[in-house]
Subunit: 608 residues, 2 copies
Amino acid sequence: MIQKKLEVRYQPFDKTTRVPPGTTLFSAAHWIGLPIDSTCGGRGTCGKCKVQVLEGGAEITTADRKQLRPGELEAGWRLSCQAKVYEDTTVSVPELLRVPKAATMGVNRLVLLDPNVRKVYVELTEPSLEDQRSDVERLRDALTAEGFDMKSDLRVLRTLPAILRAAEFKVTAVLGGDQLIAVEPDDTREQSYGVAFDLGTTTVVGTLMNLRTGMAEAVRSTLNGQAPFGADVISRISHGMQGDEAKDELREAIQRTMNGILAELYEAAGVDRNRLYEMVIVGNATMLHLLLGIDATPISMMPFTPAFREPLYLPARDVGLDIHPAGYVQTLPVIGAYVGADIVAGVIATGLAREDKLRVFVDVGTNGEIVLGSVKRVLCTAAPAGPAFEGSQIRCGMRATDGAIEGVTLTDHVELQVIGGDIPPKGICGSGLVDTVAQLRLAGLLDAGGKMRSREEVPEHPLSDRLITVDGVRGFLLAENVYLSQRDVRELQFGKGSIATGIKVLMDVMGVTAADLDEVLLGGSFGSYLNPESAKIIGLVPPVDVDRILSVGNTAGEGAKMSLLSFRERQVAFELPEKIEYVELSGRSDFNDSFVSVLAFPELESLR
Amino acid sequence: MIQKKLEVRYQPFDKTTRVPPGTTLFSAAHWIGLPIDSTCGGRGTCGKCKVQVLEGGAEITTADRKQLRPGELEAGWRLSCQAKVYEDTTVSVPELLRVPKAATMGVNRLVLLDPNVRKVYVELTEPSLEDQRSDVERLRDALTAEGFDMKSDLRVLRTLPAILRAAEFKVTAVLGGDQLIAVEPDDTREQSYGVAFDLGTTTVVGTLMNLRTGMAEAVRSTLNGQAPFGADVISRISHGMQGDEAKDELREAIQRTMNGILAELYEAAGVDRNRLYEMVIVGNATMLHLLLGIDATPISMMPFTPAFREPLYLPARDVGLDIHPAGYVQTLPVIGAYVGADIVAGVIATGLAREDKLRVFVDVGTNGEIVLGSVKRVLCTAAPAGPAFEGSQIRCGMRATDGAIEGVTLTDHVELQVIGGDIPPKGICGSGLVDTVAQLRLAGLLDAGGKMRSREEVPEHPLSDRLITVDGVRGFLLAENVYLSQRDVRELQFGKGSIATGIKVLMDVMGVTAADLDEVLLGGSFGSYLNPESAKIIGLVPPVDVDRILSVGNTAGEGAKMSLLSFRERQVAFELPEKIEYVELSGRSDFNDSFVSVLAFPELESLR
């Protein structure tokens, strides 16, 4: 009944991902940077995204029958945008698209390849006594003729005369918007790269994108180097409040992390740093402040104001990041102190503010960021959820690394899914915690008020020997030395209660009920690993049909990549802070009232 | 008959300048940074520029009689804009204007005080849960309400939250155009400074201007630190061609020179570096290229193209200049490889392109830059003049420093004006050279072809014993060990011939003759020291009435100051390259033809 995480392997790239059941082969591939061709945006009409299933399986859909020949169907070919996985699967992907005009990214979002960085090859007329235009004018005039504006840059100017003459005035101009980033000898249009960075408080992910093809060439992630200064944004800000040196420490730590990722990406993709012209960075408001060396103190204090919300386009050297020396950094805008550029990217990736469907998007973490809306109106808020979902403050909690229980099924015995495969479980990560609590509810071992049964209360239950008491506190034994305690349940109740209340406040403000919701999207580095059904059972999300609760992956990273590849998507992101209404929960009486009422778990009957 | 340089002293400032006879007390004061009050722009109608003559004298003019009371006239009060000096003079200047709405600068140019740098004091509403705008938005909204646009800056953002809160949200925003340069606690509007730099190949002059009052607070000049790498632009460029290290040497040398001047200016004016937000830099194209580290090689080679001509607005830190860390450098545009931003500034300072009068402006130096025109049409060119005018390549030549003969009068004896007063002359500087040749022509000791008389040819001449022969070459003895040789005359003939030809070519292209010229303006660091009558006698300038030949001072520096104080003047400067037609002399057959015909000196009769 509870869905396990499934493994999907893509050949010939030998890339693997773990996704919730029901994810399409197409989306799962995109999330790990394999852009399967598509021009229809996942509507099943272009037929370009077909893949061959080698192991596992996918049902034949109506779209498959229209687009594929009987022989192809028989050989296992399927449209990847329609094929949902319900078992571990291995597929073969035909050659990836080299120069896609469009790619499907995020949550079935069709993105036209139109990056802000453009390379223009020009053959300039050489100077003469009759034509003494300066080198810059010569270049600008040629670019203007091709329809491009150009603002010159001191660094480019310095070597422009030598480069023009060495290249006999045949050069490629690199523009970031209308900012001249480089002038390169000869035709280098084939080599154009950017990086999308998802700057998480815990984890930093960088994806090196080929701006010519729209393909991800390499992905690397690592822990945020600021971790020694605190696990969450508040402790990071507190560290920075110790003085300028502490602020510098924080800035340098994240710069080192990002430059380390960049170095790995260059090596992995075989890309020259000087061909990487632009990066798009998303992250919460605090992470962006700390990266840029901007005082973040007021974010941590009433009334919670960031120094800036606007998108910034900054020389990469000013931010201390090692891309092309005249390259640029683009940050996406933030909506409020606790609804950051990662959420803006998520809205882009989900298309939430563009479609008719009414959806709620929840990024679960220490803070639960919630966006509710459709093309008509969009509301957002941030609900403080505490550390439970990230596995901290939990008796046997741990981060989602090897040995962590990430999935749990309770029948007459305990079935565990452990990260790393057949190794002894060492603890419980966030998704395992949610699963355990949900399964205990289903197994009748946890009441709606959150109280765990004791062995004495349910002596006949097949799992009653798992009910233990440690230091006078009840618990449920998952494995040797790994158990869920009654206190852990309380932690989770507070966390889910806060997020659930945030969702409820937004629905109340908009005047809608759960019945009006078309979809619930679980995103973020943690949220996308949550089992949708468990999320529903513990009452984290509104009681909608479980098919409508979707894990949408790393929406922040997807939105960053989309903004890197598409100038239009970036513009949409820029406008979101104007469009999205922020609802502040602090000091709202309905938040406090609701909060108490949603601490309890839903009655199971109410969910049927 | 020949006019000597005159000394004018201004009290109570105890500032002194040396100017050609006929200069007004008002202009002379402005050239050394004493902005005598005026609202009429030197038309003698506002009466605000009155000064009291303490020593020397100035005739009473009609304007004086209208504006001043008889008692004032008797006490020596004169309108400084009307009072021309014809003897050494000391005047007392009433308190200088504190906040002028307008100042007269350059050549009687009325400049409205409207600097590009603006300081705006705002009292922001403090953030609350109901108003969670970011700090930047809070500031921007307040500035917008006052009519100002604002682009934020990373450096300002870094400390904005702390500054706003420490100052209880009462701050002064500093804008350079729409670029945010600083946010300062409290009301600092009174403290706003900029620097105008005239970046000469030989001499660098910096003037620290109070942007609030329009007054010059301090002026400093020094030799260009690039001098060890060559005296002229070609040798500097040649040095830079040795490689990147040599280019760096050049850039660092001029940066050191300018930063040295800045340090002196701060100390002299008692101004904090952090209150100096913007600098306007003018100079020839090569100097601007070398300062910015831009490859200047093509300037020195056919077909003579600069890397850029456009005005650049650059962060001062990128140029390595020590003003406010987020301050800006504005360079004025250049017209061509050899008609630089100094000439653009000169056109601004003289108003040449704005007035009905047809004028020719000549900046005499190693290159003679020539601008001919009026509001209707403007032409310009550059004529290679060789080093004669700067005192090099002359047998007893020297720069215009102590001991240099700067003025000569020949009657029945030799009268010398020596820089430094009563000290033995050591050599001849450019203006002394021109004077000597002109005086020899008047004394009948030099024929129109440029041949010097020998003692044998004119035994009766009172100066015949001054006619000498050194190593078989004729010469004229000015003082012990200081003489003008026949070869020096030839050098000067080539130099003045080149410039005169340039002027003729421009007049031909425009279809005008000397009779059409309203004025001839001699400018630049050397040209303004030239005796107008001598310039006419040697045929450097067209044969117009000597009253119409004006020394106009350091027009480059004046234009830079005007561009610093007036955004409108700066805009006019930006548009000049579009408006001014550049005439290239290289390869023009009429240049070569004319050149030969103007090598000779004019017949004296033709000048009467």
